[in-house]
């Protein structure tokens, strides 16, 4: 399919980085081709004169809803931590990434020691 190149393979790589996705070369080229085909189709919007039309972000005329700022129950900690990701060491694949009090994540602070 002869598709106009709106987005290059390099740009696809850049977008993937922004979206926190890692692509191999094959995926990058396939997505580039498919996304270009879609972008070519959406160019038809450029043929409409919409400069004077107010953008519509939400179909109902919603007003901001506020409630009284009073404490209410949230999920208990053990219920929340029970859903911690399955990310145990190789010898214990059922272990979840929690110490019972917090979620466990890789170390994010670099130290010199």
């Amino acid at each position: 399919m002869a598709t106009k190149q709106t987005v290059s393979a390099d740009e696809i790589q850049k977008i993937a980085r922004l979206a926190k996705l890692h692509l191999n070369e094959e995926q990058r080229d396939l997505y580039a081709q498919q996304i270009n085909a879609i972008l070519e189709h959406v160019q038809k919007l450029q043929t409409l004169d919409v400069a004077e039309v107010e953008p519509l972000s939400h179909v109902l005329d919603l007003v901001n809803v506020t409630r009284k700022d009073k404490p209410a129950k949230s999920l208990p900690r053990d219920k929340v931590l029970a859903n911690a990701p399955l990310a145990g060491p190789a010898d214990d694949p059922e272990k979840r990434a929690t110490d019972g009090e917090f979620f466990l994540v890789p170390k994010v602070i670099k130290t010199d020691q």
Binding site: V42, L48, E54
Partner: protein, 453 residues
């Protein structure tokens, strides 16, 4: 005598096994339903009804997968508001159904659990993204089911499986507990085999919910059929839906129904929805943009799947998302990220929002003249599994008749219209003005009673 609800729930696993090749269900929740059954069940408008829910709706103590590896290991700690309302109305929820991953797709092929098959012909797709719910109802595993409709995800599978499929007005049904895809479009929707149950389920789930600030306060009226009212409705037909790609059998069914309504002395008027053809373009810009933002939450930190990496946090995010999301979800996240990125936002996203207003105006103008719009639901009959899965643009174009209503936020419903010569379901779509679901029910009931294909 109809069997007791408990007997029907007990019989569900065997029935499911018999229909296992359809792959409609991800999680059988019948044992939970049975355990919670209180004697003969709660008395209410849905007593004695078996229901299924799409697996992007939360039910406490059951997995919510969204048909994605991303949510592997997640067990919901709470129940979605519309699901709770079904339970309170006496329904038994026996299954969580297959879908396109995170509701992105039109065929229920993009599922990490494999495709769902059409009960009329297992080589064909059931439509999507709520294909599992549609098939569960069409195969008579359940009486009715909930899906979610963002751009046609209930109306199109209803058309492909011969069911009623109602997408209510945007904001009609609480989305508390529905996993978000495109928040200015998503709406919890209903499948059933007849209009009365469709209306009854809708009335149970509709109405304001303090837990969803986008849910509307508009009162929900109770549907009771009134032939005189039905006959007083003015029907609009739009020439933009006489599309060159429209299947010949669907087209002739459409024209026959119009002829029938005229012969019954309905007022049928031609109206114009001039921006119909721009719907797909605007829809796929806006929904992918919203999806790229909504799906940023899946980072492998607090729930769901986490890729086992040694190394830094950045690597954890990227490896988790790359191995958790399937190709269609990745494609849409990237397209959405692109149309929102610096330098392109005005050209794509803002422009699509302006076109969205033009499409909304088309409907508002039409509804000054008519009560309902009658259109086809899909341009084609169900297509074979595997034929569109690698060509996203062609897949997107199959939503041409359902996305305009989603862009405008108006209610629309598929009504089954018999079968094609080859024995495949045909569906037509009725669309009403905001919060006028009841007028759709009136005319549908008239057609259901009076019109034989």
């Amino acid at each position: 005598m109809t069997p007791r609800l408990s007997e029907r729930i007990e019989a569900f696993p065997a029935a499911l096994k018999e229909q296992s090749e359809l792959n409609a269900v991800i999680t059988d929740t019948s044992s939970q339903a049975l355990a919670h059954l209180d004697g003969d069940g709660t008395q209410g408008p849905l007593s004695d009804c078996l229901l299924a829910i799409k697996d992007n709706l939360n039910l406490v103590d059951s997995p919510t997968t969204c048909a994605s590896w991303t949510l592997a290991g997640y067990i919901s700690p709470y129940t979605a508001t519309p699901v709770q309302r079904l339970l309170d109305a006496g329904a038994a929820i026996v299954a969580k159904t297959n879908l396109d991953e995170f509701a992105m797709g039109s065929s229920t092929e993009y599922s990490c659990f494999g495709p769902t098959r059409n009960p009329y012909n297992p080589d064909l797709v059931p439509g999507g993204s709520s294909g599992g719910s549609a098939v569960a109802v069409a195969a008579e595993l359940v009486d009715a089911a909930l899906g979610s409709d963002t751009g046609g995800s209930v109306r199109q599978p209803a058309a492909f499986c011969g069911l009623f499929g109602l997408k209510p007005t945007y904001g009609r049904v609480s989305r508390y507990g529905l996993v978000a895809f495109a928040s200015s479009f998503d709406q919890v929707s209903v499948f059933a085999r007849d209009i009365d149950l469709t209306a009854r389920v809708f009335e149970v789930i509709a109405g304001h919910d303090p837990l969803d600030s986008t849910s509307a306060a508009e009162p929900v009226t109770s549907f009771s059929y009134d032939e005189e009212h039905a006959r007083s409705l003015t029907i609009g037909i739009a020439r933009e839906y006489e599309h060159e790609g429209l299947d010949e059998e669907i087209g002739s069914r459409y024209r026959n129904l119009i002829k029938f309504l005229k012969s019954e002395d309905f007022t049928v008027k031609e109206v114009s929805l001039p921006h119909t053809d721009y719907g797909i373009a605007a829809y796929y810009i806006l929904t992918t943009a919203e999806a790229s933002s909504n799906l940023a939450r899946y980072d492998g930190i607090r729930y769901g799947m986490r890729a086992r990496v040694e190394g830094d946090l950045e690597g954890l995010y990227t490896d988790t998302r790359s191995s958790g999301f399937g190709p269609e979800v990745q494609r849409r996240i990237m397209l959405g990220t692109y149309v929102l990125s610096a330098g392109y936002m005005d050209r794509y996203y803002i422009c699509a929002q302006r076109v969205r207003r033009l499409i909304q105006r088309d409907f508002l103008h039409a509804f000054k003249e008519v009560d309902l719009l009658l259109t086809p639901t899909t341009p084609t009959l169900p297509f074979p599994i595997g034929t569109k899965v690698d060509d996203p643009l062609t897949m997107y174009l199959s939503d041409v008749f359902t996305v305009p209503m989603s862009l405008a936020g108006v209610p629309a419903m598929n009504i089954p219209m018999g079968q094609s010569r080859g024995g495949l379901p045909i569906g037509l779509q009725l669309t009403a003005n905001y919060f006028r679901e009841e007028t759709i029910f009136q005319l549908s009931r008239f057609i259901e009673q009076r019109y034989s294909v």
